[in-house]
Amino acid sequence: MIDVRLLDQSFNPGQLAGLFSQAHPGLGGVCTFVGEVRGEGGVEALELSHYAPLTLPGMKALAQRAAVRFDLMGILIVHRTGVMLPGEPIVCVSAAASHRRAAIDATDFVMDHLKSDSWFWKREKKGAGWTWIEPRGDDYAAKERW
């Protein structure tokens, strides 16, 4: 099952990952990554904007690619947009496979590509106002591993 969602409201990663896992009886392993907004450095809020005609199709293509490459039973990719507060989940990726290596590697692969290839623009709010977050060199390096 390939399940890709772009949500503009807060979500419960455990619930989504639990349902996803239950939808794959016979799996050997499931690996789930959840990313949350860190409050470090005085960040009060994070806003993610996206471009609808590209963002969701891009996430679906990435899910499809991971499913084939790692021979997955299923892959879940959920990503937030809009304004989020520290502690809120931003992203949840869950991969179900017959064997653990495929499940872990697929989750790792999807996270590396989501960070550098996905059409999201982030800005964060500190006391003074909003600041755009620039691309980081090590995200490109992470993607080059694959």
């Binding site: 904007s49 471009y51 005609p53 590209l54 199709p57 960070k115 550098s116 290839d117 996905s118 059409w119 999201f120 623009w121 982030k122 800005r123 755009w132 977050i133 620039e134 691309p135 980081r136 090590d138 995200d139």
Partner: protein, 78 residues
């Protein structure tokens, strides 16, 4: 009219997330924009999508009525 869409920091430069423009060749459309915005849009790291499809040769773009042209700066890491 055609629609220009500005993502990320380009929306700040443009002062809005989108802007309606007269159709025509992209080069001409850009001359109708504030110079600071036109320069920001021409940054080589900015990708361009016409009606939801990435365009590899933006020089050749001819905007038709109803077209949507999006300017996509580098995405954020981290």
């Amino acid at each position: 009219m055609a629609l220009l869409v500005f993502l990320g920091r380009l929306a700040d430069v443009a002062g809005a997330g989108q802007r309606a423009v007269e159709p025509g060749p992209l080069a001409e459309v850009l001359t109708t924009l504030p110079p600071a915005l036109a320069i920001a849009l021409l940054d080589e790291r900015v990708r361009i999508a016409l009606n939801g499809e990435l365009v590899s040769e933006p020089e050749a773009i001819m905007l038709e009525p109803g077209d949507e042209l999006a300017f996509l700066p580098p995405v954020s890491g981290g």
